[in-house]
């Protein structure tokens, strides 16, 4: 899957959880400091992304995924590995 498609779907997950319009979310937005999200919402986004892309992130991976970019990178890494 192309990275742009992944990014778009990640932003859709964020919109579903938070109500924030996907089109307004910048690629480098940090969940807590830029989007003002609490820890529960960040975790919920992670679960939504896992469900969307059908993989499980480890707790260590989740702890490092604090921005939109980081989530996109995690997904790219994991689904390519699963496909390979």
């Amino acid at each position: 899957m192309e990275i742009e498609a992944i990014r778009a779907r990640v932003k859709e997950c964020i919109q579903k959880v938070t109500g924030i319009e996907a089109a307004t979310i910048s690629d480098s937005a940090a969940y807590e400091s830029d989007l003002g999200l609490d820890s529960l919402s960040v975790l919920e986004i992670a679960v939504s992304v896992e469900e969307q892309f059908k993989f499980h992130a480890t707790d260590e991976e989740l702890a490092l995924t604090r921005t939109v970019d980081a989530t996109v990178e995690l997904v790219t890494r994991r689904i390519c590995v699963e496909v390979a």
Binding site: D38, S39, L40, L43, V47, D59, L62
Partner: protein, 408 residues
């Protein structure tokens, strides 16, 4: 401040992973016994954590005599056991009281979770027709005090206050209000929760469960350990207790209840709501922070709770925060959910009569942000006249109940 009728604790009973009944439980607590082990009641192989604080070897038929123990859920069984233990401990013969003026007020987080879990098992297997009448008669959480009242033949006010992990305190607060208002002669107040797959799944999902040990306030603490249990306190007006020659543990001097209105699962970052509950409890009981000799902490062992709870104590106690010992028995019992603050209330009563305080077990390294006297690892002799029991719950529910040595 107007003189309020005194409400006293005359009996305590509990069923926990480290012992049942006052003596066995207290001895285990003083010895720092921990009730943790690998979860046995369901399969945790798909989880990243496996630790729980379940009660092993509980025999409901030892306590449930009037009702068929198999016709009620585990939380009801535990609540009944705790109630019977409290009545025996308080030397109260039910035949001598007016049942219309005796009630049960209990707290819980999950109620009777096994029934909804079995419902769900059937749902996913497409076997819903196997669900019988028992689901609706045994599942809704108010059956826990209801079954207790039914078992004991009590017909006064019976109420469930399901304010999750602070519920026991809420139940004790309400029961004491009922007694003061003259609406009951005796009340059994406490809480019960049984080990729940749903609760375990949720806390595991939040990354809140410790992999190996519960170590509240420790620098390397990694979370809480879900458990189960029940405790009941026998409460009555002081004049009623004195008239029947009851042994009095202490008075329920006052309480404070507040809401953070901030976040569902995380406490207010400045401990604002918790501080308000503490202040309200002190004001209602007419004490100053310097009067408090011991604090039973909520102390779940999660990074956030222990830090924010420390902030709240410092905010309200000022410099005295460094002088008053504060320990968490969740370090030994795990988090018994709705039973927790009821068990901890019983412990507060015992610190007053026994002159000893329980430790915070498994404490090794100091966290610079948690620098109070948490009574690390070893129980200690300590003269306690006034004890404070703090408990906090999902939904931002904060509670503090103050127990005081009973003036002659």
């Amino acid at each position: 401040m107007s003189i309020r009728p005194g409400v006293v604790v005359t009996g305590i009973g509990m069923v926990t992973s480290i012992g049942a009944g006052r003596r066995e439980f207290w001895n285990a607590l003083m010895a720092g016994t921990c009730g943790f082990g690998p979860v046995q009641s369901f399969d945790t192989s798909q989880f990243g954590v496996h630790l729980g604080a379940e009660i092993h070897g509980f025999k409901p038929e030892e306590y449930v005599q009037k009702l068929d123990p198999h016709s009620i859920g585990r939380s009801s069984q535990l609540a009944i056991a705790a109630a019977r233990l409290a009545l025996t401990d308080g030397s109260l013969d039910l035949a001598e009281i007016d049942p219309d003026r005796a009630g049960v007020c209990a707290g819980t987080t999950s109620g009777e979770p096994h029934y909804i879990e079995r419902f769900d098992d059937r749902y996913v297997l497409d076997e819903l027709k196997m669900v019988g009448r028992e689901f609706i008669t045994r599942y809704p959480c108010h059956v826990v005090p209801g079954h207790t009242a039914m078992e004991l033949g009590l017909s006064g006010e019976t109420m469930m206050i399901p304010t999750a992990c602070a519920a026991g305190n809420y139940a004790i607060a309400h029961a004491s209000d009922l007694l003061r208002a003259g609406k009951a002669d005796i009340m059994l107040a406490g809480g019960a929760d049984s080990f729940s797959r749903i609760t375990y799944t949720g806390f595991a999902r939040l990354g809140a469960i410790a992999p190996e040990v519960c170590q509240p306030f420790d620098r390397n603490r990694k979370g809480m350990v879900p458990g189960e249990g029940a405790a009941m306190l026998l409460l009555e007006l002081k004049e009623h207790a004195v008239a029947r020659g009851a042994r009095i543990y202490c008075e329920v001097a006052g309480y404070g209840l507040s809401c953070d209105a901030h976040h569902m699962t995380a406490a207010h970052p400045q401990g604002e709501g918790a501080a308000r509950a503490i202040r309200m409890a002190l004001e209602q009981s007419g004490f100053a922070p310097e009067d408090v000799d011991y604090i039973s902490a909520h102390g779940t062992g999660t990074s956030t709770n222990d830090r924010l709870e420390t902030i709240a104590v410092k905010k309200t106690f000022g410099q005295h925060a460094y002088k008053v010992p504060i320990s968490s028995i969740k370090s030994m019992l795990g988090h018994t959910m709705g039973a927790a603050s009821a068990i901890e209330a019983a412990v507060c009563a015992l610190t007053i009569t026994e002159g000893r305080i329980p430790p915070t077990a498994n404490w090794k390294d100091q966290d610079p942000e948690c620098d109070l006297d948490y009574v690390p690892n070893v129980a200690r002799k300590h003269n306690v006249r006034i004890a404070m029991n703090n408990a906090y719950a999902f939904g931002g529910n904060n509670s503090s109940v103050i127990f005081a040595e009973c003036a002659a």
